[in-house]
């Protein structure tokens, strides 16, 4: 005798799925973490000799932040809104000024023989009393100056943003604007505790 197949009652299926859904809603988060990526310098080894190859003063862009969150850039007080432009001038040195970084002729793939700045270094120093918010704002301005220059070059040369280029082209642009942002060994700037 052939038995008739009864349909399975699936009415509670929705409830079960709802329970699972609510469980996942509660235990998970959706936020993606974003942040400013930086690379710390490795700790100097104890018996390492102090290297004597001093970087010329004109090749270093010194940014100090004191405990009252005021900026001293290259020995002058500066408002944070001017920092980006100042950093851009420093990195590119378009007018080949004497007080900005040295320039040299270099062969770079895709660009050929070009006249670019020679290893400019941005040195960022802060006090223990500086607020973290200000510190990040300054970091952001410095990174922005670097990224803007690289993006502009990428767009005029390749018609694309720097981040969308392939590795070889990114390397070439990095050689065109070689910027190092250094977070110096901690010292006290401007009398925090």
């Amino acid at each position: 005798m052939a038995r008739k197949l009864q349909p399975i009652n699936a009415g509670s299926m929705a409830d079960i799925a709802f329970l699972l859904l609510i469980f996942f809603l509660v235990t998970t988060t959706m936020d993606v973490d974003t942040g400013l990526m930086r690379l710390l310098p490795p700790m100097p080894e104890k018996n390492q000799k102090k290297t004597n190859d001093k970087i010329k003063e004109r090749n270093v862009f010194v940014v100090l932040i004191n405990k009252d969150n005021e900026l001293l850039v290259e020995g002058k007080r500066m408002d944070i809104h001017q920092l980006r432009q100042a950093a851009r001038d420093f990195i590119a040195n378009p007018e080949n000024r004497d007080d900005l970084p040295e320039k040299e002729w270099k062969d770079i793939p895709f660009f050929g023989h070009v006249f670019v700045t020679k290893n400019p270094v941005i040195s960022l120093q802060n006090d223990r009393g500086t607020s973290y918010g200000t510190y990040i704002k300054v970091q952001n301005e410095l990174i922005a100056a670097k990224d803007e220059l690289r993006n502009e070059l990428a767009r005029s040369k390749f018609g694309m943003d720097y981040d969308d280029l392939d590795k070889d082209k990114q390397e070439a642009i990095k050689k065109y604007y070689p910027v190092a942002i250094s977070e110096a060994e901690p010292k006290n700037v401007g009398g925090g505790k």
Partner: protein, 159 residues
Amino acid sequence: MKSKFRPNEEERTVGQINTASLPDIIFMLLFFFMVTTVMREVDLKVNIHVPEATEAKKLEKKSLVSFIYVGKPLPRFQKMFGTEPRIQLNDQFRTVGDIQDFIAQEKDQLNEADRNKLTVSMKVDENTKMGIVTDIKQALRRANALKISYSSIKTNKIE
């Protein structure tokens, strides 16, 4: 005589809505949330409002990221831990001295090949003083965890 257009009593009741596809819809929602979200890692015990930045970049590979939280303890912990900014690692309040052990632990959980790719994301409240952040940075350098990320919210324009 009954009207042609007026159905009798039993015919007027509304038929049941067919809910057979409801589970499918809910399952679809469920899968959407399973794919787009991540498990919550820790309960925050400190109050953190991270700063904003225009150049913030997305952190790739969640499994290679460890978090350090710094901020004022939440009100219910203030009796024990005070109101000065404190460091939270995993689920506990810790001091700068514990960071090296913490990094060693985190590195142990990774593959041999991935150990150098460990990124430390610092979630620091914007009103914290740099003193404690500098101490953490020095501890990270000693622990040889050099890739760091200052966690910040991406915005298009600051003020």
